[in-house]
């Protein structure tokens, strides 16, 4: 029982981050039909923004070496602000890497390539400005809380519980907004058919911007939370999560919000089930699992089969 609970905690805390990450992909995919490959870079930016907002200084390398903000915010304030900063960058990306192609009616594949290019430029820009070294949010940030919790014999780091709770709250808030609000329903309408939605008086362009903004916010918050849990391992920090997020997106079903959540949790749990002697192969195990699921359900767990017009 204790071992099962431990496995559940390990899987859910990792899976919640994957889900949060994949939701950003999902939102953009649902309205544009393309995967935003710059999402990993936005996640990385969120981690850096959080680090600098709580008073962290730039290291010895990079053009901004030694710089530090003149104030230090508490983590609870820095995290949403970092999310907003990441959302702002996502909106800029939408403006320069996606909208020009959309306005010209270009093939969605081109937007995929421009997003990849934008992601690479962002990562290199981070490296140029703050260097390639790793940064860490001080362990004292959560000093008022115990370092780890023991729940029914299972041990879990407090930061992981917090990560799980915040990810859960954000996922719930997003689901309520999508299903229960006028703008959420408008987003669903745009994802169904942007032209029909436009004819019905919905501003599709505006809804796409909202999707990018929320996607960037989620990535930024996820980056800040992961940065608190582990060190920010340089500008390429988000790449691993980006790959895993893609897997989650496909497993859950392209464009499906509940699918992204379910996919994230399943991949997290699948990794937690990998035995110790195979622990270095956990990525292979989770992607192998994804492969098997797709053989049976090519549309993903909660995705809809694509109907081709003839």
């Amino acid at each position: 029982m204790e071992a099962l609970l431990q496995l559940l905690f390990n899987g859910l805390s990792v899976g919640a981050v994957y889900a949060l990450f994949a939701l950003g992909y999902t939102l953009v995919f649902s309205v544009l039909g393309v995967i935003n490959f710059a999402h990993g870079a936005i996640f990385t930016l969120g981690a850096y923004f959080t680090y600098f907002l709580i008073g962290g200084a730039v290291g010895a390398n990079g053009l901004m070496a030694g710089l530090q903000l003149p104030f230090a915010l508490p983590f609870w304030l820095a995290l949403p602000l970092a999310g907003l900063g990441a959302a702002a960058v996502a909106l800029v990306l939408e403006r320069i890497a996606f909208r020009p192609l959309r306005d010209r009616g270009s093939d969605p594949l081109l937007a995929l390539i421009t997003s990849l290019g934008a992601g690479v430029i962002l990562v290199n820009l981070i490296q140029l400005l703050v260097g390639a070294e790793s940064y860490s949010i001080p362990v004292e940030t959560l000093e008022s809380l115990p370092v780890a919790l023991s729940i029914a014999g299972a041990k879990v780091r407090t930061v992981q519980v917090m990560l799980l709770a915040i990810a859960g709250l954000l996922l719930a808030a997003l689901s309520i907004w999508i299903d229960g609000s006028r703008s959420g329903k408008a987003l669903q309408a745009v994802s169904e058919d942007p032209i029909t939605a436009q004819l019905l008086g919905i501003n599709s362009g505006r809804m796409i911007q909202i999707a990018f903004g929320i996607s960037g916010f989620l990535a930024g918050v996820a980056g800040g939370l992961v940065g608190l849990s582990v060190s920010i391992a340089g500008p390429y920090f988000g790449i691993g999560y980006g790959l895993k997020g893609l897997g989650v997106l496909v497993l859950g079903g392209l464009g499906s919000v509940p699918g992204a959540v379910l996919g994230g949790l399943i991949i997290g749990l699948a990794e937690a089930c990998v035995p110790a002697e195979l622990s270095g192969y956990k990525d292979a195990v989770s992607f192998g699992f994804l492969f098997l699921v797709l053989l049976i359900r090519p549309q993903g767990l909660l995705g809809r089969p694509q109907a081709n017009k003839v």
Partner: protein, 369 residues
């Protein structure tokens, strides 16, 4: 060529300082020596591109790469080209055997790694159960863990679990939870500074209070920012002591402290400095030898064709004995370093957990020839 980007950049940064200090120390003397620094990244592909770029330039020798994993990929390119490659941080077994132009001044894991296990046993004589973590996608880590595991068994200790990780991993909650169930008295880690530092931090946060011994990949003050106050108590075997009382080491420490403040130089910096010193001294001897042979008073090396110069440098480099900050070193004909002095340090963090030092344990291990 050192890793200035990627997850080994924490090692590369230390090495860069050593190379720059050596250039300032030896660059002005005859024969003049200058460093052409290339970023080899932390992967084989970037290192290969950087090595090929350097090979196209009139360089007399190459120092690097930072990782053993990269050395196995790039040294087979440099060796047939007849360019001497001197490894300053590669410790995996089999590197000097890549070819006649490949040598190293970084002592192999087989000489250094067992010392920290022995030190742990001295600190806790009741120690019985040992857990091992290693990054399975890294040649140095996989090489070092074999030595660690052999050493653990050699001391009659019980290996309770072996956890395989990856150098890209940062979240270790799952393997730590599995490991803690085996109730280890000692945890031994072979990893790089970033993944290893995160592992140490998370082990302590999850409540592990026993001894931790780390391998050479984490032998850098750059781990302080990753594991922060949880770095305290970490045991790491050393191929360098800043406290060595030789004139050459005192000079090196003085140069380092002038540039970096009062802190003691780390091992990777000392090894990079020593690598440049070895090349400089070998070139000086070659210059003298050639001047005598050609009865020319100066510019003897400048008259040599580059392939001939590289070949002669490699030969004379392997024959010499060098008084470096690492102590007296020389080479086997195969290019393996022969070093006398090794130590074990215990990381001591300051009260705020922001910075620390590698405090040498009082009874350094006897020389291992």
């Amino acid at each position: 060529m050192v890793a200035l980007t990627g997850n080994a950049s924490l090692i590369g940064q230390d090495q860069r300082i050593g190379l720059e200090l050596a250039e300032s120390e030896f660059g002005g003397s005859t024969p003049a020596l200058s460093v052409r620094l290339e970023d080899g990244g932390s992967d084989e592909q970037t290192a290969t591109t950087a090595f090929r770029r350097l090979l196209q330039q009139p360089v007399v020798a190459l120092i690097g790469p930072s990782l053993s994993q990269q050395a196995f990929a790039v040294n087979p390119i440099a060796d047939p080209a007849g360019v001497p490659v001197l490894g300053a941080s590669n410790t995996a077994i089999g590197i000097p055997q890549i070819g006649p132009f490949v040598s190293r001044i970084s002592a192999p894991v087989s000489k250094v790694a067992p010392l920290s296990i022995q030190a742990a046993k001295r600190l806790n004589p009741k120690l019985e159960r040992v857990a091992v973590f290693f990054a399975q996608d890294d040649a140095y880590s996989t090489s070092e863990t074999k030595i660690f595991q052999k050493s653990i068994q050699g001391l009659g200790l019980k290996l309770v679990t072996v956890q395989r990780t990856s150098t890209a991993d940062i979240d270790f909650q799952k393997p730590i939870a599995d490991t803690l169930q085996t109730r280890p008295d000692l945890i031994v880690i072979s990893a790089l500074p970033n993944d290893g530092g995160n592992l140490v931090r998370q082990l302590r946060e999850m409540g592990y209070a026993g001894l931790i011994a780390a391998g050479n990949g984490m032998n850098s003050p750059n781990i302080y920012s990753v594991c922060q106050r949880y770095c305290d108590g970490l045991l790491i075997a050393q191929a360098y002591s800043p406290e060595a009382k030789t004139a050459v080491n005192r000079r090196f420490v003085q140069l380092y402290q002038k540039q970096r403040g009062g802190t003691a130089p780390p091992q990777f910096t000392a090894q990079a400095y020593a690598a440049m010193q070895v090349i400089h001294e070998a070139l000086t001897r070659l210059d003298r030898q050639e001047s005598l042979r050609s009865q020319s008073r100066n510019q003897a090396l400048a008259t040599m064709a580059l392939p001939e110069l590289r070949r002669a440098l490699n030969t004379i480099l392997l024959q010499g004995t060098y008084d470096t900050p690492l102590g007296e070193i020389r080479f086997t004909p195969e290019g393996e370093v022969i070093q006398k002095d090794f130590y074990v340090a215990r990381v001591k963090m300051d009260a705020k957990g922001k910075t620390g030092r590698f405090a040498l344990l009082p009874n350094p291990s006897p020389a291992t020839p």
